[in-house]
């Protein structure tokens, strides 16, 4: 009987193969650390977890692999905005449209979307909601144009 962990491991091995990534012990343990933690961990937290099983691992390796996993779609980032403080002077409630490519942020007035409701039963126990933010993620006009140009150039280059 293949237990869940074995199955998850096979899954991960397959995903590495699909992405052309070498299947190393370090990668396996890093990946498991993220999956096992229910906390949306930071690289530092992953480092602490992984070090319990691989004391010789370096933080640099965590970062390199996290980046590899993000690039290949094995993991995701919780937010597109990490790494830079972005400010807001529009103090009236509103929502955002964000370009995944250039990180441009556009405001949308609150009334443009229907108010979103969440049944209390879906919330963590005792959580007090103050606000609901909606974020539409996509690609802005100029980034679409840039991508088209780039892929066209790549095509011409390969012929």
């Amino acid at each position: 009987m293949a237990d869940l962990r074995t199955q998850a491991l096979d899954d991960f091995r397959r995903r590495c193969k699909d992405q052309g990534l070498a299947f190393t012990f370090q990668r396996q343990v890093i990946y498991e650390a993220v999956v096992d933690s229910r906390e949306h961990p930071t690289p530092e937290l992953i480092y602490e977890q992984v070090r319990q099983r691989i004391p010789s691992i370096s933080l640099g390796t965590i970062y390199k692999n996290v980046k590899t996993f993000l690039d290949s779609g094995v993991l995701k980032e919780v937010t597109l905005h990490h790494g830079s403080l972005r400010l807001e002077s529009n103090m009236t409630p509103h929502h955002h449209v964000v370009c995944a490519s250039c990180k441009a942020i556009f405001d949308i007035k609150e009334t443009a979307v229907e108010s979103v409701r969440l049944p209390t039963s879906e919330l963590p126990a005792g959580f007090a909601i103050q606000q609901c933010r909606v974020e539409f993620v996509g690609v802005c006009k100029s980034c679409q144009t840039a991508r088209r140009k780039k892929s066209k150039a790549a095509k011409e280059c390969s012929t």
Copy 2:
């Protein structure tokens, strides 16, 4: 006739007074730089803008004042997650509940909220939406408890 800029300035002066903040030229220019820019600027971008009017300003002053403005509610941050990469292994679409105090992130299954629609007319021209993310912001149970304890202690301290 008081133009818009004069009025905005008076507004800002009043807000500083309300918050017990000194009204300095630097603060005025920093604030105006954020308001004038439609781009949800970073501190670095604000620095560039402000330097055109106050060449001697330092980046440290930008950071100090941005922090002051955030603490006093004169400005807001676009996201709570800036400053730390947070990872996600749950690749199925879902939404988040975030504690504004400890930054804990909880998953909510996508079906828990009705799908959010945005009329194309509300979008920036040419923007291609790929995804909609909903984030409920509030305070988790343990942070509520901690705050209650803290404010109780403060009360006892002041008597």
